[in-house]
Amino acid sequence: MATLRLERHINRIRRRIRLLHALRWSVLFALAGTLATAVAASIAWARHALFPLPEAVLFLAACAGLGALAGSLRRVSLFQAALAADRRLGLQERLSSALELGKQDARDPLVAALVADATSHAAGIDPALAFPLKMPREVRLLAGALGALALVLLLPRLPVLQSLQQRAERAAMRAEGERIVRVAREMRKAAETRDSDLERQIARNLEQLGRSMRASRIDKKRALVKLHALTQEIKEAQKQLAAEGAKKSLAQASEALAKEARTTSGEMARRLQEMSRALAREDMEQAARLLKEMGERVASGELAAREREELASEAEKIAVSLADTSLQEAARELQEAAQSLRQGQMQAAAEQMRQAAGSCQGGGCSLAESELRQAGEAVMQSRQRLALAGQEAPQGGKEGLPSGQGAMARGDAHAGGAQGEKAQGHGTHQLATQDGGSEAGRGVTNRQVAGGTMESGTPRDRQADHRSEMRARFEQVYAPHRVDTNRLDTQVRGKTRAGKSDYSEVRAAPDPGSASRPYYEVYSHYQRTAEEALAREEIPAGYRKQVRDYFDSLRP
């Protein structure tokens, strides 16, 4: 073929052009990657999170590599290479014309002369000299973009540019991340020992989150949300393990015990019923307390024979109902205690009852469940600490959280809207009506009114929405002569008076709204207030649990 030699020469040029393509495309991809990283880092900055440097560098390197690959894979035909050489070297289309015409009619004497001429020109071309490896013009743009990226990546790390709260939050994130990673590693070791996929999965998720927190890759809000999700995951796993280990549920045990209680009478029936209710609520503390009381009565040594028999029978009934549940161990100990009582071994019986109480308090769970529970508690504590992190930092003006029962800050009232989807899962709106129950709400904002129903002692009144009937009172509370609001949200302390109050609970999605303060910042205040109320007021044990469950479910 007449153009064979010419094609060989042009092929060398083509390889060189591919190399230049690879260089240019790597710069272009790196530029795109830099811009994308800068945007991502800016978003992270806006969310008070730090974009990780090693990942950024790796991403940019990957972009450049990908660009080089894409550039080198771009199709460059011999003709294109010939044209490029013609242009670059001023060959007046000798190479491209010879390549094209040589294929068509190489017998034409003028075409043959052209091919010979072009081949001699092509032979003298040094591709490296003709197409030197110089940086494409986009390099300047890349340099600028890298500079901007460096600023976006490094500026948020400067302590000068961080508020005290941010610094505290970041420190807490790192510390909690480290803790969670430790918990996850221990859990993983245990999972390997037991060869449990479920635990392994949870450990993996925990470790990932811990690492992200340790490297400040995620912001506080997302960390809290993920921690919450992990807590739920751990709880589910606990339930699953418990269900796998037990043939009977605690609810079934409760029912059985309630039946037994109905066949008895007097003090014993009352205690059995109490135990049944505790089991129904899965309130292990209460159950343990009841067993402890039994143990204390035995330990007092003032029991008559009939009372001993009664106590033994009571322990036996409880043991029978708890058999085959997750409290199997407690059931066995109670059975032994009943036998000891009948044999007159009071000290042994008392000790066995205490052990049963201990087993009950521990949930009567397996080793795996116990470890899961511990991990769950550790995660929950981390959540708590993280939620509170940075709260000590000074916050000016009305942004500060007010203290005291029933007080409500401006952001609190809006928090329901911010919580959005999460709140819909268990969102409860209480429609409260009041007839002279209080002079005014205890905490009022221009969105919501709370108060009056606080006399019921349940914090669910916090979300009470007094609509038509309360609107007049709302206006009254907001009367300018009473409140120096200056059109800003404020709080008003009310006084509870005698009168009838009532509320009804309506389950619905929360009202839409926008939060002026993040949810996790106000949650801790609510929970503290609720805990104070629980400690101060006489609240039945069942309701106490309900209150705690409620706040647990709201935990960010």
Binding site: A84, S96, L114, D117
Partner: protein, 342 residues
Amino acid sequence: MNEVPMTPTTEIAARAEAYRERYAAVCDEIRKVIVGQEEVIDGVLTSVFAGGHVLLEGVPGLGKTLLVRTLARVLHLKFSRIQFTPDLMPADITGTNIVTESPSGGRQFLFQPGPIFANVVLADEINRATPKTQSALLEAMQEQSVTVAREVRRLEEPFFVLATQNPIEQEGTYPLPEAQVDRFFFKLLVGPPCLEELDAIIDRTTGTEEPELRVILDGPALLEMRALCRAVPIAPHVKEWALKIVMATHPDSELAPPQVKRFVRYGSSPRGAQALVLAAKTRALLDGRYNVSFDDIRRSALPALRHRVLLNFEGLAEGVQPDDLVQEILESLSPAGDGEIG
């Protein structure tokens, strides 16, 4: 990069070398008489070597006629000059049948050839004649034949018309019909000389010495050169660009730039494309190449297309120059290979 010397030593190479030498020799001879006007000389010779007719436009006294006369002397070809005037008749150009008396006493019609029957015809001040007379050249220029009294008479090869015209704005001129203009291979604009050139002109024309001109070429040699020029191949991508340029002169073409769409009434005919490619081939050979380059096309575009782009009323009213339009077309159409690397 260093230019690698051309290696082919074939007959083609020798012919191409002879082509360049002859061209250079003709140029040298013409330069003995004509001062400056390099572009015009180059354009005239390109047309002659490619086998086309030339229209030289310029105000009187710039050496247009002298250039053609000098060329005729150098080429050793039969030369005739027709001075176009308003009263010139077509028969004055083509010739006519006249009644003659035979030796036997009878009378017969005898064809008396006009000045068109030459190898090189100088149509001086062609736009001073009426369009009817101008049109007498139509057949001769395209078919190289003349029809008189229903008899077609062939013109001797090589045949080319070198016409001069004054700018049409001058009084007493008739614009050439479009069909006539289109038959000219090139239209060359003859500009005034610069100071140095004028100085040389005065020295040469006011002294006693007259330059002696050598005859460089005869008819057959010229025809051989034309054949070689036509044999130069043109690559498809270069040809495509040339054709796109011609297409872009049409206002209704997608390739036409906005100015063309606005100011042009008619674009170039296919003759424009022929002229563009042939002229580019000539230039390629003169440049020592066997292929046509984008530069060859670019350099030939103005003389080949300027007289083929016919302005509309708005273009004429705005004083738009066809050269500017062609230039804009060249800038708007980038040749193949304008890539990111090349």
